[in-house]
């Protein structure tokens, strides 16, 4: 997987986060690749987690198991989400 692909996927995920979660005052430049999304960092909450999970499933046609232990880790930041989406799409 190329860096170019990863970067464009991360940008896409940032746009998805802003749109799906209604973050009207935030731009993609305000979200760091490694910035924590939930709790601290960007300050998203549990409803956001569900909403973002749904948006990612819809956009990338992948299935997310809400009960799987590692799901929480995939949602740590934009970089981990991009890696997760790439792995799922390759599977």
């Amino acid at each position: 997987m190329s860096d170019l692909h990863t970067n464009s996927l991360m940008l896409e995920i940032k746009e998805l986060i802003i749109e799906a979660l209604g973050l009207e005052d935030i731009s993609v430049d305000d979200i760091g690749d490694e910035q924590t999304l939930f709790g601290e960092g960007l300050g998203l909450d549990s409803v956001d987690a569900l909403e973002l999970g749904l948006a990612i499933q819809k956009k990338y046609g992948i299935k997310i198991d809400a009960d799987a232990k590692d799901t929480r880790n995939h949602f740590t930041n934009v970089a981990s989400l991009a890696a997760f989406v790439t792995a799922k799409q390759a599977a």
């Binding site: 209604g22 973050l23 009207e24 005052d25 409803v47 569900l50 909403e51 749904l54 499933q57 819809k58």
Partner: protein
């Protein structure tokens, strides 16, 4: 006949393009149906992260209620809406009809007490709160609730009536929301106002405007009484000089 007495210490109203007392004075003298509009009230007094999920209905409720609650703690809230979050319900049903997964945000905020839940979280308010969906006389049923709260010792009670313009699919069934609106009343103990309930067996004509909007000329001092009939219930609002 049942009678309750109270004061209306302050009030606020909002509809697209109508915000100030002067706006409402003008509208009340010549009430007209407003043009369809997506305009929503300004709720920039709330942090961006908190207001981002608020629908227009919630924004309307907050915009009329927030200034009335300013500086007050332990203020019970009576929230009244006959139809509630119809746009959210319609979106959820549309997703269901096409086998789409449901939005957790839409789902959690579609329930009738979502607005009072948000109000409680955003204000750190833990007083008693009620969400009512009555018939066309929800305003008056809400007033009974507010009067009961005062009777129990609350120094004031906040009453918010709001209706959202329903999606077009509901237009065959919902004919009592001419345009989106919200009215907030800060109720305190007193004798400046009187609301009485009588019953009648005659079919009385319904007021042309929703009760909360029909009350505005009396709130604005353009008249001293106002009568609202719904089914066999006749409510008379009297403003004492």
């Amino acid at each position: 006949m049942s009678v309750i007495n109270f004061n209306i210490a302050q009030w606020r109203a909002w509809a697209p393009g109508l915000e100030s007392v002067d706006d409402w004075q003008a509208w009340s003298r010549q009430p007209v149906v407003l043009e369809r509009s997506d305009a929503a009230p300004d709720v920039s007094f709330l942090p961006a992260m908190q207001r981002r999920r608020l629908s227009r209905l919630a924004r309307m409720a907050f915009s009329v209620g927030w200034p009335l609650a300013d500086g007050r703690q332990d203020l019970p809230l009576v929230f009244i809406s006959r139809h509630g979050e119809t746009p959210r319900t319609f979106e959820i049903l549309s997703d269901l009809a096409t086998d789409q997964p449901l939005s957790p945000t839409q789902f959690s905020l579609s329930v009738h007490n979502a607005v009072i839940g948000l109000w409680s979280i955003m204000r750190g308010e833990t007083s008693e709160m009620t969400a009512l969906a009555a018939a066309g006389d929800g305003l008056e049923h809400g007033m009974l609730e507010a009067a009961a709260l005062l009777d129990e010792g609350a120094p004031a009670a906040l009453l918010v009536v709001t209706e959202e313009q329903p999606p077009a699919a509901y237009s065959a069934w919902i004919d009592d929301v001419p345009f989106p609106y919200a009215v907030g009343l800060l109720i305190t103990p007193g004798n400046q106002w009187q609301l009485s309930l009588n019953s009648t067996s005659q079919a009385l004509s319904k007021p042309h405007w929703p009760h909360a909007l029909n009350l505005l000329p009396t709130l604005l001092g353009q008249q001293t009484t106002c009568q609202h009939a719904w089914k066999n219930r006749v409510w008379t609002w009297q403003r004492n000089p």
